[in-house]
């Protein structure tokens, strides 16, 4: 009896570690994880240099976890265990029921936040000298607007407090996007599995921007809404491990009728880009269908009469842009992570009628390149 017992124990243990030892060798390496939306570590090259610098061993260790057999199933199991033991979050994502996932938010230190706002003020001062008005918009995330969905007492920091503080300091014309979104908080204005606003959310943001700029915004019912994808899994889903939730829908409101032309200044020669790049609908990163992902600088000619606008952007502006094409003749989108020259100089050189600094609170709190606004 004792002997059988011992042998069963040893067999369970050795079979388990042995089976995965063999499976990990036998199964082909995966290059890209759709689930996590990142390239996985491949078998590192060996050299004595790399061995003694320690980079071989650390890469190899990352390789073993990244390429572990059924990796996605394991992370889902861990996420499920966390919920089962009473936790309401996993890897910084709250599980809010009804297939809603919301990113946690940690406010930056006070002086860090105010430094960020003072960069906007510096830009405002320069632009005021040239008579160009600066608008400033901070877009709160679902963690703020949909806070009613968060688990009871969830320790997420308030984004509204930060927005209020920033707007109190700001000398630019502030745009109250939070109230515009808050008034529709029960509608589908944020993706359930992604950190971005939906096209509907972007429309309400657009209304707020128009109100601040004194421009007319078409009625919501006047748009021809098209569902372009019904299986969008976003970034929040990727980091959460809650792999069983339902996917999101992506809608477009403004048709791409060819009147709008987009030029991408990414590299030596400008290239023509799309308003919607539907090829992204076949891959994981479906939100990038709006304008086709990141670019240091984009120039959009709308073919309409109207003023011109320079937007200093993050990715929230990409789904907003189609709405703005109704009001402007030209809209440029500048990404301070990649555009390494003075934005004020660019605005002056190109004779823009207005500049808009538009960031999600999350990105505004973490981006390392906001100092470029003061250049």
């Amino acid at each position: 009896m004792k002997k059988t017992f011992n042998i069963v124990i040893i067999a369970v243990f050795l079979c388990f570690i042995g089976a995965f030892f063999i499976l990990n060798i036998a199964m082909p390496d995966v290059e890209f994880s759709q689930q996590e939306n990142r390239y996985l570590q491949q078998m590192p090259d060996f050299s004595l240099d790399r061995l003694f610098s320690g980079s071989f061993t650390s890469d190899f260790e990352k390789y073993t976890t990244d390429q572990f057999a059924f990796r996605d199933k394991w992370t889902a199991l861990k996420a499920g265990c966390e919920l089962a033991t009473g936790k309401k979050e996993n890897n910084g994502v709250y599980y809010c029921g009804d297939d809603v996932l919301i990113n946690d938010f940690d406010a930056p230190a006070d002086d860090n936040w105010t430094t960020r706002v003072s960069n906007v003020n510096n830009l405002n001062e320069t632009l005021t000298g040239y008579g160009i008005p600066l608008y400033f918009g901070l877009i709160p995330g679902a963690v703020e607007i949909e806070s009613a969905h968060l688990p009871a007492n969830a320790p997420a920091d308030s984004q509204q407090t930060l927005v209020d503080q920033a707007y109190g300091m700001s000398e630019a014309t502030n745009i109250d996007i939070a109230s515009a979104l808050g008034a529709h908080k029960d509608e589908y204005i944020y993706y359930r599995t992604d950190h971005h606003w939906t096209s509907l959310g972007a429309y309400y943001g657009y209304e707020a921007i128009c109100a601040a700029m004194g421009l007319p915004a078409p009625d919501l019912s006047s748009y021809d809404r098209q569902v372009v994808s019904q299986d969008f899994y976003g970034t929040v889903y990727s980091s959460s491990g809650f792999s069983w939730v339902e996917p999101d829908e992506i809608e477009t409101f403004v048709p791409d009728d060819g009147t709008v032309t987009v030029m991408d200044y990414n590299g030596a020669e400008p290239t023509a880009g799309p308003l919607y790049d539907t090829s992204f609908l076949d891959v994981k990163d479906k939100y990038s269908m709006f304008l086709g992902g990141v670019s240091p600088l984009r120039s959009v000619e709308t073919g309409r009469d109207g003023p011109s606008l320079l937007i200093i952007r993050d990715s929230f502006s990409d789904s907003l842009l189609p709405f703005l094409t109704a009001n402007f003749s030209r809209i440029d989108l500048m990404d301070m992570r990649y555009y390494k020259q003075s934005p004020a100089q660019y605005a002056v050189d190109n004779d823009f009628d207005a500049v808009l600094v538009l960031y999600s609170v999350d990105n505004f709190a973490t981006d390392q390149n906001l100092f470029m606004l003061s250049m």
Partner: protein, 475 residues
């Protein structure tokens, strides 16, 4: 490399075990010697040279001391050789401690001295060689044991090297003294029974580390830097209890894994933890916590200093020395020294009168007192700044600026309540005793099922290892 990693569990361990049991017995020490160096050098390959130097140094010292002593025993140059042996021992001990000092404490001392105006000593910023605090103590004990006649000289370099770098206990103990393992290096009989015990022990340790310690560690992290205006009474206690559980399960889990791995390879190590949180006095707590460290300091510092045999004042001084060293051993920071002295204070108090007094009290008084000392001690231990320690103490002892309890506390209580309850239960012997009372047939089914369950869950947590910090690299 750490045990609680995919690399160790699914590559290193299968290969080590397979080859170990395929090769004939006489090759097994050599195989262990090689894989020990791989294990040790994984994080910082250059330090393999340091390890080999340490092995050579202590191997040669041991041989020399043994040679001088056998000479004097043979009566040839009696009187001449014992002092020579002593000189070798002193040089060896100084060199070992110098290495430890250089790699672990140099920066701390440099920074401290640089606080004197006009003095500036540059820091080196060296990575701490893993396990240096553990293996330095192990190797140092060998020439001392030989000198004292407590252990035989090891002539075989491979066997000695196997002892020094033995991977199961290399990085977090237990601290194995040479004399406790000498015979096993020469001859050990691996058996099915011992291997099965080893598997069970390893799994217990794995569950402690991966499923409990890492988990409650996140609770401590959530509170550790809380501002005075945020930290409530409940929050401070939640965090302090969480860390007390984290360090116990992390450390004892690691010892369990070490003991289990040792058994799989035919070694028997001494126990390192014995339910410390059931202690009724602080003295008892330290007999149950990190036993191998306490034993080491007792045998190689406290007793040689005279222990309690030279009168009370001398005994108190000895205690102070031992506990300063115990404190600073835990890490290169003055907070650890303070933490050691904090324990010296309670131990002296108990020696003077508190033990007698506690004996007359109901057991509950002793338990509550000991847990208060231990839990508060962990706050001192883990907080890097004195001011943050005081923030915690104020909140824990009724002077919180944030009140009794907040919504955030309720959130964390709901999130971690179950894991905390499991942790508290598992830190008491009750669970083990209950399990032992189950009919053998039930256990025969339950144990393999539990083993499989722990393996599956731990693998899930390790694969999703965005959060797998290892606490003992600072030691």
């Amino acid at each position: 490399m750490v045990f609680s990693s995919i690399l160790f569990m699914f590559i290193y361990l299968p290969v080590v075990l397979a080859v170990y049991y395929i090769v004939p017995g006489r090759w097994r020490n050599l195989w262990l010697f090689i894989v020990n160096l791989v294990f040790y050098g994984w994080g910082e390959p250059v330090y393999i040279l340091l390890m080999i130097f340490s092995i050579c140094l202590n191997y040669v010292s041991g041989r020399l001391i043994g040679g001088y002593l056998s000479g004097s025993a043979a009566g040839k140059h009696a009187g001449d050789d014992r002092p020579k042996a002593k000189r070798v021992l002193i040089v060896n001990t100084v060199l070992n401690l110098a290495l430890l000092f250089f790699f672990k404490y140099f920066d701390l001392v440099a920074e401290t001295i640089s606080m004197i105006p006009g003095v500036s000593i540059p820091t080196l910023g060296l990575t701490l060689p893993i396990g240096i605090s553990f293996y330095t103590f192990q190797t140092m004990s060998y020439p001392i044991d030989v000198y004292r006649g407590d252990g035989h000289v090891q002539r075989n370099f491979i066997k000695f090297g196997t002892f020094v770098a033995l991977f199961p206990q290399l990085i977090a103990g237990p601290i194995v003294r040479y004399k406790d393992i000498a015979e096993q290096l020469d001859e050990r009989h691996e058996s099915v029974d011992q291997f099965a015990q080893g598997v069970q022990r390893f799994i217990v340790g794995l569950a402690k580390k991966v499923l409990i310690a890492n988990n409650v560690g996140m609770l401590w992290d959530a509170y550790a830097n809380a501002a005075p205006g945020e930290l409530t009474f409940v929050g401070a206690w939640l965090a302090a209890i969480a860390f007390s559980l984290q360090i116990y399960f992390d450390f004892s889990g690691y010892s369990d894994m070490a003991i289990g791995l040792g058994k799989m390879l035919g070694f028997e190590f001494l126990e390192n933890f014995n339910y410390p949180y059931i202690s009724k006095t602080v003295t008892e707590f330290w007999r149950r916590w990190h036993i191998s460290l306490g034993t080491w300091f007792r045998d190689y510092v406290y007793f040689p200093l005279g222990g309690n045999r030279k009168g009370l004042p001398r005994q108190l001084l000895n205690l102070l020395i031992v506990w300063s060293l115990t404190g600073i051993w835990h890490g290169a920071s003055w907070t650890f020294l303070f933490w050691g002295l904090y324990y010296a204070f309670f131990l002296v108090l108990e020696k003077m009168f508190l033990l007698k007094w506690l004996k007359k009290c109901p057991a509950a008084v002793g338990h509550v007192y000991t847990m208060l000392v231990a839990i508060s001690g962990w706050v001192i231990f883990q907080q890097t700044s004195v001011s943050q320690t005081l923030v915690f103490f104020r909140a824990m002892y009724g002077f919180s600026q944030a009140g009794f309890c907040s919504g955030t506390d309720l959130y964390y209580l709901a999130s971690f309540g179950l894991v905390l309850a499991i942790g508290i239960f598992a830190s008491l012997p009750a669970g083990k005793n209950l399990f032992a009372r189950l009919p053998e047939k039930v256990r025969g089914v339950a144990v393999p099922v539990l083993i499989l369950g722990v393996l599956v869950l731990s693998t899930a947590y390790l694969v999703d290892s965005t959060y797998n910090p290892f606490l003992y690299f600072r030691f």
